[in-house]
């Protein structure tokens, strides 16, 4: 009880100045934390875009004919296109915040130009351009080629 009755301690002015200083610095530090968190989110988006595009391209590079492409690839305005959407946790979903588009444009019978883009809404996170050669472009599935 002596402690409670004691009148020694910091003065009101001291406490007021301290609280004001702490409030000011807290704003700066909280802004830093938020910026760091945003940067981490962006980094994870770039990481996931890298992984998902790489997965898709590796599957594509394994194909030797157009017929062996999965049903997800559809012909659209002289391009063969696949669209996929991912939710906040980058799990495949019907619609989602993130969208990946793989489009293939014919250069020659056996060579296609491949454009991959990974978007967050309207904003592009990653995009890359490469080529894919189909050894047997018109071979039907189950022909027994390789």
């Amino acid at each position: 009880m002596k402690v409670l009755k004691a009148e020694e301690g910091f003065t009101l002015i001291e406490i007021s100045i301290s609280v004001a200083m702490l409030a000011f610095i807290s704003v700066v530090v909280i802004k830093l934390f938020l910026a760091a968190s945003n940067i981490n989110v962006k980094a994870s988006e770039v990481d996931m875009a890298t992984i998902l595009i790489s997965n898709e391209l590796e599957i594509l590079y394994d194909k030797t004919s157009l017929a062996s492409l999965s049903d997800e690839y559809i012909v659209q305005d002289e391009e063969i296109v696949k669209k996929a959407y991912f939710d906040d946790l980058f799990v495949l979903s019907e619609t989602g915040k993130y969208g990946m588009t793989i489009s293939m444009k014919k250069e020659t019978d056996a060579l296609y130009k491949v454009d991959c883009t990974f978007m967050k809404g309207e904003k592009e996170i990653m995009s890359l351009e490469t080529y894919k050669h189909f050894k047997y472009p018109f071979k039907k599935v189950g022909d027994g080629s390789d």
Binding site: V28, L32, A36, A43, I53, Y61, T108, A110
Partner: protein, 169 residues
């Protein structure tokens, strides 16, 4: 000693220390996040260059495939087919500059694609075996498809691979 015993302004000193700690913590977290972003960007750039390089290799494969298909169309027997192949592929047509030699029933073809402009240049080495029969089922077989990066080449690693180098001295 009087300064130390002075109690006025003690709270400000405590607050300033706390502020410093918070600022250092905030800066540390921010710099970690920025490094994380740089790493992700670097990884993504690497992948971008990698697929560009693969794209170049695929273009060359498509060119070779085209030459093979043309040779099949324009020849009547295996000898003619072989001659056309020899002529077209050893000419350096289709942007190819490569040695061409025969090995058994197949001829082998080598080419490489090099990355330009980066510090540790990547390259893809491809070897093909092309059957010399005109009606062969497969136009070519890929016998080697290797991605190599300059920093990881054997010549540089050799310095570390010879622990007995000074044993004779």
């Amino acid at each position: 000693m009087e300064v130390i015993k002075e109690e006025r302004g003690a709270s400000s000193v405590l607050v300033i220390i706390l502020m410093l700690v918070l600022i250092i913590l905030g800066l540390a977290i921010a710099s970690t996040s920025i490094s994380n972003m740089h790493l992700s960007q670097k990884k993504s750039d690497w992948l971008l260059n990698y697929y560009q390089l693969i794209g170049e290799a695929e273009k060359q494969l498509a060119d070779i495939n085209e030459v093979i298909i043309e040779a099949r169309k324009n020849s009547n027997n295996d000898e003619e087919y072989k001659e056309i192949l020899n002529e077209k592929l050893s000419q350096g047509s289709c942007r190819l500059a490569m040695p061409y030699r025969q090995e058994g029933g197949d001829c082998s073809l080598h080419f490489e694609v090099n990355e330009e402009g980066s510090q540790y240049k990547k390259r893809i080495e491809v070897s093909l075996a092309i059957p010399l029969e005109r009606k062969a089922k497969v136009p070519y077989h890929i016998t080697k498809y290797a991605l190599l990066q300059e920093a990881l080449l054997q010549e540089e690693a050799e310095e570390f691979l010879d622990p007995f180098k000074h044993m004779d001295d």
